[in-house]
Symmetry: C2
Subunit: 322 residues, 2 copies
């Protein structure tokens, strides 16, 4: 039994708990929250503690699973936790990952711990595929497409606009861009590759044209893309846009001795947080095995042999999968 | 520079040489053949030796790359080579892999060597995906589809029929089976999943109906499938069926907390042997790194972290791929 602590109890933490409870092999030692613990109740009866109480659980936790929503929180929290615990997280601000990796590696090594960072699907499985495809086909061009699915960051940005009551943003890959990428065309831009579809429920009396302008001109989030804005009723919103589906794929077109090779990995998810939680827990098992073998420091998906994710013995795995 | 020996000089060995010569990082020490060495000439000027001469090159070879065509040869040869060399091969008789793995592991460990077996795309990358998908989504169902592409084994079987002059067999996945697999249906049969398309050039005066009957009733190869037989002219055969393209994909539909997840990996290759060679050489680099780190015994794709395939430093790889 792998003893895990869940730090944070939003969509991701709750999904981790559900999977850990249903899949066997895990004991959820506790939920550690920044909220008032008496206000949270686990459907599985998992005890709920204040976040800082986790430091009373040294030696009782195999992996601290960092599921907090706020991105800036993850790195600061993880650096404190990695002094005393093995940690795993799905930190996803790509541009900050190299610095975070170096910091965590230093802390975990100094304290004889093992930390896995940026474990999910992107970063995570998609990172693994980008590296694998590039390793096999160094002479080629690769792209990552996201969607059709809900971008939580972009939906959040919409909700900050005055007059917006509810909002969801779908990232949509453009079929013609996918075909160009498969042919090996280089230099596709962000606007070439993705559309952004917004579904908005306004506050009563809001100025829709003003909201539309504010959205399509928002730097970084929407201005560099073709963006559509759809105003809908609250009823339609709740009926059609309640879920958190996502999808995406990684592709690479390469040449080997002048022969074309296309590699693609795709996923399609009814629930983004539940799948991310499944990846986190699968890699938590690997973390414990690798820690027991003496691995220390910070690792990403690139460093973890797939055999470590499996519950099968080596001989069984060879027979079943190879 | 990684010093490789090529054992065998058919399609795969020649492709390995081309890639090694063009990609840099490899020195091809020699081609070792069962044929008369004076009858072979490398376009790159690689020296050609008799197969057994390789034992004069102990300590001069980092990896012996086994590229012989005959499947029964690979295992016997590899077991002799693993006593003195690190070896890599693409042995692909799935049912015999577990026994071969155990034998190679024992020999390589006893002799302080490292051997990678069954490295290619299936077994190989497809094995990796089957294991990864199953590790992330244990509650689900997975399938491997092959094609549309040339099956060398089935083409060979056709050429053994009396009256057949030239033959190619394409394995074709059925679109409706792919949809059923994506929906998570279990129990799809071989006949459900693939068609077999045969293109035949007959000897003059051959009995076509007799050939057709012999093909569609051939046990294991064609009887369990829907098989089409097309008789064509030698001219059309050479114009349309000269290449060795292949394709295929691995998919898994799983459930995480009642939410559906679909994972797919696909590849499409203009030249099957050239891509297999690219995979062999990428994993040869990993083999040398892992040997230098002290790894011994027999490994498959499941045991090799993707980071080992990369020429980037750890920090560069995290920045570029994660």
């Amino acid at each position: 039994m792998i003893k895990i602590a869940l730090i944070g109890y939003g969509n991701l933490g709750k999904a981790c708990e559900r999977i850990a409870e249903s899949s066997g092999g895990f004991e959820v030692v506790g939920i550690f929250t920044r909220r008032n613990p008496t206000e949270l109740k686990s459907p599985f009866g998992t005890p709920v503690y204040r976040q800082d109480d986790i430091f009373d659980f040294k030696d009782q936790i195999d992996v601290a699973c960092i599921c907090t929503g706020s991105k800036s929180d993850i790195t600061e929290l993880a650096k404190k936790l990695a002094v005393h615990f093995n940690t795993i997280d799905s930190f996803d601000t790509h541009v900050r990952i190299p610095e975070y990796f170096a910091q965590m590696d230093e802390i975990a090594r100094a304290n004889e711990k093992l930390s896995f960072i940026s474990i999910g699907w992107d970063p995570g499985l998609f990172s693994l595929m980008r590296a694998l495809f590039s390793g096999i086909l160094p002479n080629g061009s690769g792209y990552t497409f996201w969607g059709r699915g809900v971008s939580q960051g972009h939906s959040e940005a919409l909700r900050h606009i005055e007059g917006v009551k509810l909002a969801k943003q779908y990232t949509v890959p453009k079929p013609e861009a996918i075909e160009r990428a498969r042919r090996g065309e280089r230099g596709l831009t962000e606007r070439d590759m993705h559309l952004r579809e917004c579904y908005i429920v306004c506050e009563d009396g809001a100025d829709k044209e003003k909201i539309r302008q504010e959205i399509v001109n928002m730097p970084a989030y929407f201005a560099p893309y073709d963006t559509t804005v759809n105003f809908i009723s609250e009823e339609e919103f709740k009926r059609e846009h309640g879920g958190m589906p996502h999808a995406g794929f990684v592709l690479r077109k390469g040449l080997v001795s002048d022969f074309g090779c296309n590699l693609e990995f795709s996923l399609k998810l009814e629930s983004n947080p539940d799948f991310t939680a499944a990846v986190l827990l699968a890699y938590s098992k690997a973390l414990v095995k690798m820690y027991e073998k003496g691995e220390r420091g910070c690792k990403t998906v690139l460093d973890v042999p797939i055999s470590e994710l499996l519950s099968e013995s080596e001989a069984e795995a060879v027979k079943k999968f190879v």
